[in-house]
Subunit: 179 residues, 2 copies
């Protein structure tokens, strides 16, 4: 049996950031159901570590949660763009840094129950300044924190964003195995 | 200035699992923009640790990513439901376990750029069997892994779900500080 054939698909919303489909499916095990899916191009997040061992975070107003959120630099893939290219581009555009080293940290599904978004996390180092190219539609504050300070923010519940928490936890793990 | 006033809001899709709004907003800093938002009731995820120190994982077909995904037991909040109640309910329904101890692990935003979903992660222990009440719309395989085996799955890239990775990393951290 083919895994998860889509019997039919209806696009209910076509947006700028995501679209919504309702698919009629017959899933493995024979479940026939209608599944709502948020279609998203995929994203990158970058844990940028400076030569003085600081972590670069950005703070911006996130309308969905109506509050300011600290996050690692991140953004959506352009159509057909390779994740590594998007990571370098977002780092340059959002925070004005070019990375000489970019290594993959993780690839994961943000909310596989209803959304197809894949997040590609990278670690960037060997950073040099370039002119940032901020999106006119965004106001972003850029700040640098020692790794200990960033962990302190996590402990105090000041970091609420999934990719940022995952990146810091993976970096902690990395530092323990390569001290 | 009030933070993030919504000038107007239009519901473009009303679904079973989520809805979609397009809001006209004036954000802090004066940015006026149209923001698309996936509205979601919020979710719980439960890292269940048995008395023999095994981790309970479930595997199910996730149509958005067209593949089988290993995850910690999880689900959506019912309307008005407290996260702790939802965590106990999902653990009973999905895997047939009742927890005598439930402690919060983390509360985070899954994708704050376009979605308001809040994930509440818990750690459950003191587990005793109860009759599971599976959703007729789902086929779920339940399995138990030693903590080392679960970490091995993570290392080999077999765990691709954000909440599952976060729960394991937080549990690792916990075990290092309370060995």
């Amino acid at each position: 049996m083919t895994v998860g054939p889509r019997l039919s698909s209806r696009r209910l919303y076509e947006g700028r950031i995501f679209s919504v489909d309702v698919d009629q499916v017959e899933e493995p095990g024979g479940v026939r159901a209608a599944r709502e899916v948020v279609r998203h191009r995929g994203s990158v997040g970058v844990l940028a570590v400076t030569d003085s061992d600081e972590i670069v975070l950005v703070r911006q107003y996130r309308h969905p949660v109506e509050s300011l959120v600290w996050e690692i630099p991140a953004g959506r893939l352009d159509p057909g763009e390779a994740p590594e290219h998007a990571a370098r581009r977002e780092l340059e555009e959002e925070v004005g840094l070019s990375a000489s080293r970019l290594t993959p940290l993780a690839v994961y599904l943000t909310s596989p129950g209803f959304c197809d978004e894949v997040m590609h996390l990278f670690r960037a180092s060997g950073l040099t300044p370039v002119p940032p190219r901020p999106d006119p539609d965004e106001r972003i504050e850029v700040a640098r924190f020692s790794f200990a300070a960033a962990l302190g923010m996590k402990e105090r519940g000041e970091l609420r964003d999934a990719k940022t928490l995952l990146a810091l936890l993976l970096e902690s793990e990395r530092r323990r195995s390569n001290p």
